[in-house]
Symmetry: C2
Subunit: 144 residues, 2 copies
Amino acid sequence: MFSKACEYGIKATIYIAVKSMRHTRVSLKEIAEEVNSPVAFTAKILQSLAKSGIIDSHKGPTGGFEIEESKIDTIKLHDIVHAIDGDNIFVGCGLGLKQCDATQPCPVHDKFVGIRENLKMMLQNTSLYELATGLDIGLTHLKR
Amino acid sequence: MFSKACEYGIKATIYIAVKSMRHTRVSLKEIAEEVNSPVAFTAKILQSLAKSGIIDSHKGPTGGFEIEESKIDTIKLHDIVHAIDGDNIFVGCGLGLKQCDATQPCPVHDKFVGIRENLKMMLQNTSLYELATGLDIGLTHLKR
DNA sequence: TTTATTTAAGATAAATTTGTCCGAAATAAG
DNA sequence: CTTATTTCGGACAAATTTATCTTAAATAAA
């Protein structure tokens, strides 16, 4: 469904959010360990998330990553996915046709608009806050 | 959503079905043209669909691909996708965790089971017959 | 039987995604 | 100022997916 980059990015962002709610910066190394992701690859993804303004990065000792606490509630899963995978999950024909819409649909067009709309709604409605809180109180987990 | 291989496979199967309903075999070349897919790559996909028993292939002059007419109604979109992409779309954690279920869920587990169930139901409920008929009567298209 | 045609199969190549490595830049602390 | 730490950025490498090419095998028809 999502790319590996996106999977790592989502997990990392949730972890950073949990720590940020406790006013703690986290290092790349810690993130990669807690999220079970390759360090160097995770670095790249965090870089792009930082450029997208979803997370903040700080160099040097005591540096690391964090998320502005006020943002945690407004950031949606959709924003993270979009920052990493772009909008290719949300737009485009299910069979790869350039020209496919309600007036000139591919054979699966109608079937697809429904589930894609579901997916989109889900991503737009789930906040980073709720994901981070679930992890924080031990309801969910990020490893294994 | 689907791999390129799967997109080509679905389109090819629908096209073969339309022709088979008219009792006509179609060649690889014709399929690739009508479906706008790379010939050699399409050949590979058709090969695996033939091995899966979804389509029949015949060598030599007057050879080509066809689908047993009685099957067209029972073959579901799910079968085609499964034959090409396997079950990786239907199973597995949305964040790539090995261990992720209702008792020990990842942060997006509950959100995902819903839309995945939707997708699965959609694929299991749409028959090749209905897709082929839509194309045949000009309601849908496969090119561009 | 010979020939032309068509799919099968395996090797190879290109493109993309995933992942690694290393030096540069920033920066906190001694 | 120097040093240690941490992210940044670019080059590089491996793995996977997508795509091509060539030869073999099957087979219909002359």
